[in-house]
Subunit: 347 residues, 2 copies
């Protein structure tokens, strides 16, 4: 294992810089990970002075400008070169950090990453691969969670390849299975985009393609990787968030209806809270932005310290395992770009 | 109120004809609704002989052929003219029934309805408007739940108009609000299709358009009607199903971890079951297929007797209120077809 440095956006997320700084301190203290905090130097120092921690593992790089969650991605990228996101990406580019993690404005992270780092060979547009909790086994990887809302079929095939490489390195397994989100399992199901991607994935012998997967099957973990366009991926995640909230709300209402259920519910609260946590993808830390020429991970804006510590650990592990070098060769045997009908050549 | 007859597909759904027949008997006995059962005459009679019910309210129309849930919609429509779906639609067309309800193969119901009944004036393609439970108020109406997976923007605008009319008649209110499913609330968010539909809905002064809605906001009921394409609508429903199952599974697992939570959970089971039911869109009965020239409602294939009785009641109410006549005029002032830039004429 090489020693790695995680560049952490100290200004990203709902309660920045407080949560990112405390997450960095815990990652350094408990796990010996070197973290460079990027953000408003004075605000960061104001938190650090009240804490004790291993000094040699924590660095600060000043980034005086601010990108808010509401800023439009493109404007943020063009106008604010000294904000934490572009400054962090420059550290990555110069080799002063091995991976960049941000809970800030996702659109700004995606746009800045493409601009600062460029893309990996053969990649048109990067995708966000988000870990999704399931009823059994490790979380499955859903790509794309929202980086590219209007992909071409070839771009979704590129995402399938990138996610496969990431999954192999992250989980130290070979031949992870790939499914395609659709409105039915049969191969003819789906909109025009899905049907075109189905053919590309099926034609690629390097992918373990299992066919279409309905979203309701996700909790049963039908495959390791699920491919979808960024619009649909984002809709799935946000439907999930809404429904988990609705279930918790319904249980609360229901428990209030009788005096004894109310008492029982109070006793059960910790169990219900744990069940909710098992469903919360924030717990699983960062989601890699796959396809840019650098290791970039995105955390949920609502991440708490625990979630962000998990994100730092995931980021550090990815860097230690030379994930970027593996990703750079993901599209080397580019069957779909070079000969989309390779199977038909004999015909 | 006029006296109406509900034509019920006795062969549709997971446990047909048992569940449809029992639902028809309960609707007739408890609610005085006339139901015509369409399906295999002998199987239906075999259930009826064991029951007592108001004879004059129950009729049977024989439909000897069978469309399975797995049959491809187009094949089913072309090859099986004497199956319950086409026979039921013919009853509707001839005026022998006022509304047709089926828990069978949705694709076959949609395709057969277009073929048998034709479309309402100004409608290109019908959409399925499904009631979605929320934390407060009546269920909101989501259109399209899967009839049209690759719509044009104008077709989604047509769905918005049709759903508005249906909501007005069904809930006896005026000016229901309309939202558009997107991956962000800002008006620039969404894929190309969503951005085009956003403009069409915003330009139509007859719609109370509130803008984009993220799926996570659905439980808070941000509007009365939500418009989306059939692919995304289906993905939302199936993500919801999957997550409700996952939550129930997680709670079960969690409750088992300690002996006292296990005992408490047993005591709480009825409350948890009720909470699950409040989230189950099957409870809300049928979803209207809007845009065809006849009242057609689709029930979930997994409907139990209670759900199907609710579907029969909803169907009967729709017929009593002359919903079809109202729907037929939904697109009369067709701003988007006739002059998409009506607002700009003065400029």
């Amino acid at each position: 294992m090489k020693h790695v440095t995680v560049a952490l956006d100290a200004m990203g997320g709902d309660r920045a810089p407080d949560i990112p700084v405390r997450a960095a301190l815990r990652a350094a203290t408990d796990h010996g990970i070197a973290v460079t905090l990027i953000g408003n130097q004075e605000s960061i120092k104001a938190i650090l002075v009240t804490e004790s921690y291993p000094d040699h593992l924590i660095n600060i790089v000043d980034a005086p400008e601010h990108v808010s969650m509401e800023d439009q991605a493109v404007k943020a990228v063009r106008g604010k070169r000294r904000a934490s996101i572009p400054v962090g990406l420059e550290l990555l580019k110069s080799g002063d950090a091995d991976v960049f993690l941000s809970a800030g404005n996702t659109g700004a992270v995606v746009a800045s990453s493409i601009l600062s780092l460029g893309r990996l060979p053969g990649v048109d547009r990067p995708g966000i691969a988000i870990p999704i909790p399931t009823a059994k086994g490790p979380p499955l990887l859903l790509i794309d969670a929202g980086a590219l809302v209007d992909p071409k079929p070839e771009q979704m095939w590129q995402h399938a390849r990138l996610a496969t490489t990431f999954y192999v390195v992250a989980n130290q397994v070979s031949n992870p299975t790939v499914g395609l989100i659709s409105n039915g399992e049969e191969s003819g199901k789906g909109n025009g985009l899905v049907r075109a991607v189905h053919k590309l994935l099926g034609d690629d012998e390097q992918l373990q393609f299992i066919g279409n997967v309905e979203p309701r099957a996700m909790p049963e973990r039908p495959c390791d990787i699920l491919v979808t366009d960024g619009f649909t991926g984002n809709v799935i995640l946000k439907t999930g968030e809404g429904i988990v909230n609705l279930v918790q709300e319904s249980l609360r209402t229901e428990f209030k209806t009788r005096w004894y259920t109310s008492i029982l519910a109070t006793l059960l609260k910790p169990a219900i809270r744990r069940a909710g946590k098992a469903l919360d993808y924030r717990e699983y830390g960062g989601a890699p932005l796959l396809g840019v020429n650098g290791l970039v991970m995105i955390a949920h804006g609502g991440s708490d310290v625990t979630a962000l510590v998990n994100g730092i650990l995931t980021a550090a592990r990815s860097a230690e395992r030379n994930t970027l070098a593996a990703l750079a060769t993901s599209l080397d045997s580019n069957v779909n770009a070079q000969s989309p009908n390779a199977d038909d050549r004999s015909g």
